[in-house]
Symmetry: C2
Subunit: 452 residues, 2 copies
């Protein structure tokens, strides 16, 4: 690298940022990819980590390994704390990284609709830490149910509430049903894990709202068959350590539960606001930065926002969804815009999302696929889902490992990665019942006789 080359800084190594970086391969630019984490995470499979089917490393690829051979790209681990536009520098704490073009792809986090206090009771599914936290909570609930024989406490421990009926919520509900009804069968001696109650709460009148109604209906049928109570047109009013309040048509129901998962709202990274403050750009309701047709910021042709952080639109004005294909295409597109400029070519056409379709899996042999020209569900949809997800994993090794574990899980119905880990796992069991239990008022019952 020589400092006379055009310097591109990319903030975020998710689908958008990584695809942008890779698109620059061989181009006469100097790329710096900055991420808080040292790996690219395949978020669509995070729910499989949360339910013990896969290990975190199976769906993560170290950024340095991915970009090792791309000599015009360096990776920096760091949390971007600001952007100095006049001096064209990105700030990581005290450190300053100069750029000629900046691509911000910082993604989105969970959003609790103005109730940040719900987060501690209802983790979302955005990071590996959140996934292993959910895994710990779900598995600890079953473990506690084995130890405590009080019927009310046990019923509460065996009630799982998933908030949000989009693809993540549906996949999560299906996976917990599999866990309870198949994986954990015969694992306990004092209760039957198939008695677990799983609720999927969706504010809309049907799950998978962006899908055609027929596929939503199909998904709902499969979920009910798997024992999932699907609660549509229902809104969460409160989340506490031992219950949630769900409102439907003005009626509020209390559901006793120790385990709530959040798959409802996302909000763009705080970097969006930083960019907006510096450039005068508009933020949409989800905190996403409104961008020009070429994904740059109005008046700042060298500053691009892509992926979940960008409020880009379909030609008809509908907002683009926050999904991996949009982010990947945007990342590549923006890299291309920059390369064309450097080559003195005519400006690129406005960004246009090539929507190949959407899909969601519900469980074993069950998925829905919408290719627009063709809609289908069932086993073939499931195979399609499996194939597409395997193919988009970044590392060939991960493809093999995931394929092998899926095959194994399919045949044995086991989920070998169901480990209760983390500091919290060690703390909760040090001399006392798990804290989800002690947070309730039921005293744990002494129990000396085995009951099977």
């Amino acid at each position: 690298m020589s400092t006379s080359l055009h310097r591109v800084v990319i903030v975020g190594g998710g689908f958008a940022g990584l695809n942008a970086a890779q698109k620059f391969k061989g181009a006469p630019v100097e790329v710096t990819l900055i991420d808080k984490r040292n790996f690219h995470l395949f978020q669509p499979l995070l729910y499989q980590v949360a339910t013990g089917a896969l290990s975190p490393a199976n769906i993560a690829a170290p950024l340095r390994a991915v970009l090792k051979k791309q000599r015009n790209c360096r990776v920096l681990l760091g949390d971007v704390s600001g952007v100095d536009l006049p001096n064209k520098q990105v700030l990581i704490g005290e450190e300053r990284i100069g750029f000629d073009s900046l691509i911000v792809a910082a993604g989105a986090g969970n959003f609790y609709f103005g109730h940040p206090e719900w987060e501690k009771h209802a983790p979302g599914l955005k990071t590996i830490e959140e996934a292993t936290d959910i895994r710990r909570r779900v598995l600890t609930a079953f473990e506690a149910a084995e130890r405590f024989s009080n019927p009310a406490a046990r019923a509460r421990l065996l009630t799982f509430v998933i908030v949000g009926g989009g693809p993540t919520g549906v996949e999560m509900a299906g996976a917990i049903s599999e866990l309870a009804r198949h994986t954990l069968r015969q694992n306990f001696r004092n209760f039957d894990p198939t008695s677990a109650r799983i609720l999927l709460v969706e504010g809309n009148e049907r799950v998978l709202p962006p899908f055609p109604e027929k596929l939503s209906t199909r998904a709902t049928q499969v979920l009910w068959k798997m024992g999932v109570e699907v609660r549509t047109s229902s809104h969460v009013k409160d989340i506490q350590a031992d219950h949630v309040l769900i409102e439907r048509n003005g009626n509020v129901e209390r559901i006793d539960t120790n385990t709530v998962m959040w798959a409802a709202g996302v909000r763009a990274s705080p970097l969006g606001k930083l960019i907006a403050d510096a450039t005068g750009a508009t933020l949409d309701r989800g905190g996403r930065v409104v961008v020009e047709p070429d994904l740059s910021i109005a008046g700042h042709p060298n500053l691009f926002v892509v992926g979940d952080l960008a409020a880009a639109k379909f030609p008809d004005g509908k907002p683009l969804p926050g999904v991996a294909p949009v982010a990947m295409q945007q990342g590549k597109y923006v890299a291309n815009v920059i390369i064309r400029r450097l080559e003195g070519n005519t400006p690129a056409e406005p960004f246009r999302y090539w929507d190949k379709g959407s899909m969601a899996t519900i469980g074993r042999n069950a998925a829905v696929v919408d290719l627009y020209w063709f809609r289908f569900s069932g086993w073939f949809a499931w195979m399609t889902w499996l194939f597409v997800h395997i193919m988009y994993l970044v590392h060939f090794q991960n493809r093999l490992l995931v394929l092998m574990q899926w095959f194994w899980n399919y045949v044995t119905r086991n989920r070998a990665a169901r480990l209760i880990t983390g500091e919290e796992a060690v703390r909760t069991l040090t001399g006392s019942p798990p804290n989800e239990v002690s947070a309730t008022s039921d005293p744990p019952h002494a129990k000396t006789a085995a009951s099977c």
Copy 2:
């Protein structure tokens, strides 16, 4: 199960406890296995998790999955807080579990030779959390070296000290050398990871002290060839966030480092003292409980201590080593003692360890194996080591996964599981340099020009 059956409680699901539980398969007893964790951990491969070669789930097997089909055994997740011998009950907090025979197999933790304050700077290798903590520290040191150009800070970041030259320390040193010299090659743009300095500190006059001298010498040669500075007859005098003090023949040397790993001392679980206080049994220097030839406690024929918690001896009076084969054989032996008693058979012969040999791996194609009648090192020893470790993994799926990843790592020299994870990983990078760096007095240098 009926409550009239003989009730066996096993505390700890490590090698000793799990083997005891499995030996009871089909026996007319009611087994309760209690562990703090929901999985059996294959500790000998933990250093591969710490160096990004394997995922935690690859070397862990959920206890419930392992014991699912053994109908006379239940598993309880809990931390045993006491034993009520007069009432024959084990205490988990408020809960009481009755027993007729008790097998305590609670293992050992790290021991810092009277310096518990060293622990926060030098994690050991006993749990998955410690392994992922070491992984985070080692990888974060390389990441920080990429960001900070100050030569002294970078040299300190790239210095790794492993305390303890037993098998774990040797394996760890070898793995970090592989990581620095092969896996991370070409991964950085601002420094050469092969410049990393790796020190292995051993108090004895040679590494792998229990092995024959020839194999120790061979291991030392291989380590030096791999770039590991082997410091024998050396003692750690102090460990701080940014340096260690090492004493040799009265001379104290200061080594600047941010990354220290502890593989030196172990101390038996505090349950040992609890047992000793209740029974009058003696503890040895490492806190291990002195046991009778049949591994019971003198005067308490129904109370057994096995594995790393037991101070058992070879017939010549030498203490048995704290290794997996001893624990496995003791677990099975004690289960057999109990079954024989219930069957009214003559008492079992005293426990005798069948020592098949010892082995340690150093790195790619290099290991030492001591079968007593045959001693060898090099490629064939390495293959032997691989084979034995694969075979002792509890789950067939894990055997396949580990084999596949080893093959892959061997061919590509990659270590795909090198993720920086955990709450600490997120905290350290929020707006400031990693805390190992900020703990030092060197200000991070602003650096805007890429240097490769």
